[in-house]
């Protein structure tokens, strides 16, 4: 089954002429036809994409099929952000990231399901039905990039793109047992990505292996004249030093002393991951969680939920104002209840007399996280933590719980608020349920190289990644 090839391997075998592009496309189409109805991964899919791929063989991505989350504006596919408001909307421009993928010879094979407007961590709030976890269809894939993570877990794409505001790449990657990289805010252009929380949103790869994420990042990172928040910091070749090892890396383990987590399997497996890294030559320490800003301690993730909720809802209420019922064909009654909740809450927190109490105050607390990470990264190369406090939850778990996403994402929210980079790699599989846990590896601004090096070393040393030996 050639659809199981990693991006790296597929490129290699195509160049050696041991595998043809046609075989890969045929196998992907086969699994798509078999499973997409049940799993509901793709909202749109181009069954004839091989015709386009044929001509891209000499480009770096060799015409390989890439799945794209449905909040990237793309020419040729509808772009809906899984909302009825944009049902059938055909963009006449292309996002910077998908443009770069196309220029590198990647083929957009289809658009993947997500929580409507990326509001959620389950992909259950999509207006086009929930996506199921390919590892076990009774369970959620996580979200909001649940469709992209599931496209990888089910081998329905060679690589994929997601977006993260706080956890939306790393949490579904964790639940689906795949690799998800959330770059530093400003490393990858947001131009042409439907805005959710503009000060947090960050596109990134969701792939089979760490190396694949590094390859994709190479093509999508960089300054974009269309996005004023992208950075001038030079882009590295993230594959170059990938296998250099992590000898003498200083690594801190975070959050597992928190009472909510300390006695769980998630904490246990994170500690085990720490041991693995230690055996690879890193100096690993436990960092204690603190409720106040203290040197060498990590600020509790608990405040992040409040800060994140206020900041993100405020930005959401503003970003969705353009869907006013005049353009895009569908009126405002098409908004789902989650979007409505967020618009109402965000509007309230930005209102006169309340903005200081909520939005401005939240931004001040947000800055504490920035300071905390700055302090910690003066001492540590990378920090690790669980990517999610639990295994994937069963279908339906998000319903009736307006804070579902925030609770699922609480361990990655502080890093998202600070804007630093992080990657989730599989760190455990429960044989009974076939469900995964992910290890979240974080580093300072624009230190993607370090998290990739750590993640790669960890991936090689452990047996949780099913693709690494294919």
């Amino acid at each position: 089954m050639k659809n199981k090839l990693t991006l790296k391997k597929a490129i290699e075998l195509i160049d050696k002429k041991e595998v043809s592009l046609k075989e890969i496309y045929d196998d992907i189409l086969k699994v798509y036809k078999e499973k997409n109805k049940e799993l509901n991964i793709y909202l749109s899919f181009d069954e004839n994409s091989f015709e386009k791929a044929k001509n891209e063989k000499n480009k770096p991505l060799r015409g390989l099929p890439i799945a794209i989350k449905d909040n990237f504006l793309t020419i040729g596919f509808p772009t809906t952000a899984s909302s009825n408001v944009l049902r059938g909307y055909m963009s006449h421009y292309e996002s910077t990231v998908t443009k770069k993928i196309k220029e590198a010879g990647g083929i957009l094979i289809g658009k993947t399901n997500m929580d409507a407007w990326a509001h959620g961590s389950s992909t259950e709030t999509s207006d086009f039905g929930p996506t199921k976890n390919p590892r076990n269809p009774k369970y959620l894939p996580g979200g909001s990039s649940g469709g992209s993570a599931a496209s990888i877990a089910s081998n329905m794409a060679i690589a994929s793109l997601g977006t993260e505001t706080a956890g939306s790449i790393r949490q579904p990657a964790s639940w689906c047992g795949v690799v998800g990289l959330k770059p530093t805010y400003g490393r990858v252009s947001r131009y042409g990505v439907i805005a959710m929380g503009s000060s947090l949103d960050c596109p990134g790869p969701i792939t089979k292996t760490v190396e694949d994420s590094a390859i994709i990042l190479n093509f999508i990172a960089g300054k974009d004249e269309y996005d004023g928040t992208t950075s001038n910091v030079p882009v590295l070749d993230y594959t170059k030093n990938l296998k250099k090892g992590i000898k003498n890396f200083k690594i801190g383990i975070c959050y597992i002393d928190h009472p909510d987590i300390s006695s769980t399997i998630v904490a246990k497996k994170t500690l085990e991951a720490g041991k693995v890294l230690e055996n690879l030559g890193a100096k690993v320490e436990l960092i204690s969680t603190s409720k106040t800003l203290e040197k060498n301690k990590i600020l509790s993730h608990e405040y992040a939920i409040g800060v994140y909720t206020v900041v993100q809802r405020g930005e959401v209420s503003s970003n969705l104002a353009r869907y006013d019922g005049i353009r895009y064909g569908n009126n405002r009654s098409c908004f789902g209840s989650e979007a409505k909740n967020r618009i109402i809450l965000g509007t309230y927190t930005l209102s006169k007399g309340y903005a200081d109490k909520y939005y401005i105050y939240a931004q001040k607390v947000r800055h504490l996280y920035v300071k905390n990470f700055k302090d910690l990264f003066s001492k540590y190369d990378v920090l690790i933590s669980p990517a999610s406090p639990s295994f994937a939850l069963p279908s339906g778990a998000s319903q009736g719980n307006p804070m579902f996403g925030e609770l699922q994402d609480m361990l990655v929210e502080p890093s998202a608020l600070a804007g630093i980079c992080g990657i989730s790699v599989p760190m455990y599989k429960d044989e009974e349920t076939n469900l995964y846990l992910g290890l979240n590896i974080m580093s300072d601004y624009f230190q993607e190289e370090k998290i990739l090096q750590t993640a790669w070393a960890y991936e090689q040393k452990t047996n949780w990644n099913e693709w690494k030996n294919i």
């Binding site: 421009y93 996002s95 929380g197 004023g228 928040t229 503003s318 104002a321 930005l350 209102s351 903005a355």
Partner: protein, 449 residues
């Protein structure tokens, strides 16, 4: 009852900057010259999903130049904010504007009635334009986004203006400075400069005269005024209207009013809600603007000489009046050209004051700002010598005509006014060319009496 009312007026003026491209995208900034609606548009100024704004550097520099020209302090750390309101011409559901950190604040403009403090100048984006029309017998509203995203500055004064004529002088002066800096055409007919006045009346009598300076508890916003003359008339009409209401013992309603020039009255447009809530917050798409020292210095360096200083200097050097001088030019490119011309004249010991008068009264035919200085000198010299020769010739011709027609002279002396026309005709005949008949008639009658 002898009440006196002191008008309290503050002004808000919007000006579209004439940068080549729009405020937050690369689209052409020429809504008025656009041959068709919606052609100068892109995902950014259409507010499409996923589009992001990138601030126009030139527009920021020009805003700061205007601030410096008006003696403002400059916020070297500034930012853009989102201002939310719903209107069909506002593509994103919010306007990118500036809230608490405008680029410029605390400036002033001098008028002959006194100083007017400038509270702030901020930079924002213009909206699209609604066109109400009937298509296939159906009433429709169309939207043209060519104007959407055009850089717009707003200049806000303190309520220091005390009369309609001061408001007019302020607006004119602001116009002159903006034209001088050459940052906008400021053509009011094209909506490139939009005037708004906030007007209220303070009751002054012997009792309240020395009391606190509290402002009246209402204000009326006057909008849609498209000339300086109408501004003055509209404010006058509004002051009169408010006086009448107050004389009846009532308080004018807080509202927005327009001006009907034909009837010379103001009319209610909409009641202004007291608690408008725009839910301002810093636009997360645009990083805060830090104006480095070197950037600030280069903006200062590129500023032309201060408009008032320039006129004062010319007045002193060449003896012409400021009001006369200001008629000669609009932009600083033009004033620099003139400055060169004047000093060139002076160097050659020519009469610069006379030149200025000739230019203002269009007595010499030259292409200002185009011809080279030497050409202008030769035209100037020629016109001086011809006018001198003419004088002598005319005197000679008149003397001859009088001498040759004693009867006509007698008739004129005895009150036959028509006789002078005969003498004029004779003089012209002798001269053999056309000249100003008024001057000749004057000269003849002087000579006879």
């Amino acid at each position: 009852m002898d009440k006196k009312y002191q008008p309290i007026i503050g002004m808000e003026v919007h000006v579209e900057l004439k940068t080549a491209s729009k405020m937050f995208c690369g689209c052409k900034n020429d809504p008025f010259g656009a041959p068709k609606p919606n052609i100068y548009t892109c995902p950014v100024c259409l507010g499409l999903p996923g589009a992001l704004p990138v601030a126009n550097k030139k527009a920021i520099e020009w805003t700061i130049s205007l601030g410096l020209a008006l003696g403002c302090k400059i916020n070297l750390f500034s930012k853009f904010d989102r201002k939310h309101y719903f209107y069909p011409d506002l593509a994103k559901g919010y306007q990118i504007s500036q809230y608490d950190l405008p680029f410029c604040y605390d400036g002033e403009i001098n008028t002959s009635f006194g100083k007017i403090r400038i509270r702030r100048i901020h930079l924002e984006e213009d909206t699209g334009k609604l066109i109400h029309s009937t298509i296939n017998n159906k009433k429709m509203t169309l939207i043209d986004f060519n104007r959407s995203g055009v850089p717009l500055i707003e200049i806000v004064t303190e309520p220091d203006i005390k009369s309609a004529s001061q408001a007019k002088e302020y607006a004119k002066k602001l116009f002159q400075i903006i034209r001088y800096l050459d940052i906008s055409e400021a053509d009011m007919e094209k909506g490139q400069m939009r005037l708004e006045a906030n007007i209220s009346l303070q009751i002054q009598n012997s009792k309240t005269k020395n009391q606190n300076n509290q402002l009246p508890n209402y204000k009326v916003e006057l909008k849609n005024i498209n000339s300086f003359r109408f501004l003055e008339k509209a404010i006058e009409a509004e002051i009169k209207r408010q006086e009448e209401i107050i004389n009846e013992g009532k308080t004018p309603t807080q509202e927005t009013r327009g001006y009907n020039a034909e009837k010379n009255i103001t009319y209610s447009q909409r009641a202004k809600e007291d608690a408008s809530d725009y839910r301002y917050f810093p636009d997360p798409d645009i990083p805060p603007i830090k104006i480095s020292e070197s950037w600030f210095e280069s903006i200062k360096k590129n500023m032309p000489e201060n408009y008032d200083y320039l006129l004062s200097r010319w007045e002193k050097e060449y003896g012409a009046q400021k009001s006369t001088l200001s008629l000669l030019f609009e932009t600083n490119t033009q004033s620099k050209w003139l400055d060169g011309l004047f000093s060139y004249f002076k160097k050659q010991n020519l009469d610069t004051k006379k030149l200025i008068n000739f230019l203002v009264n269009k007595k010499i035919k030259v292409n200002l700002f185009v011809d080279n200085y030497q050409k202008i000198i030769s035209v100037f010299n020629q016109s001086i010598s011809t006018s001198q020769i003419d004088e002598e010739e005319i005197d000679k011709a008149i003397s001859q005509a009088i001498k040759e027609n004693p009867q006509a002279v007698l008739d004129f002396k005895s009150g036959k006014k028509n006789a002078i026309n005969f003498l004029l005709g004779q003089t012209m005949k002798i001269l053999g060319k056309k000249t100003d008949t008024k001057i000749i008639i004057e000269k003849i009658s002087k000579k006879i009496f």
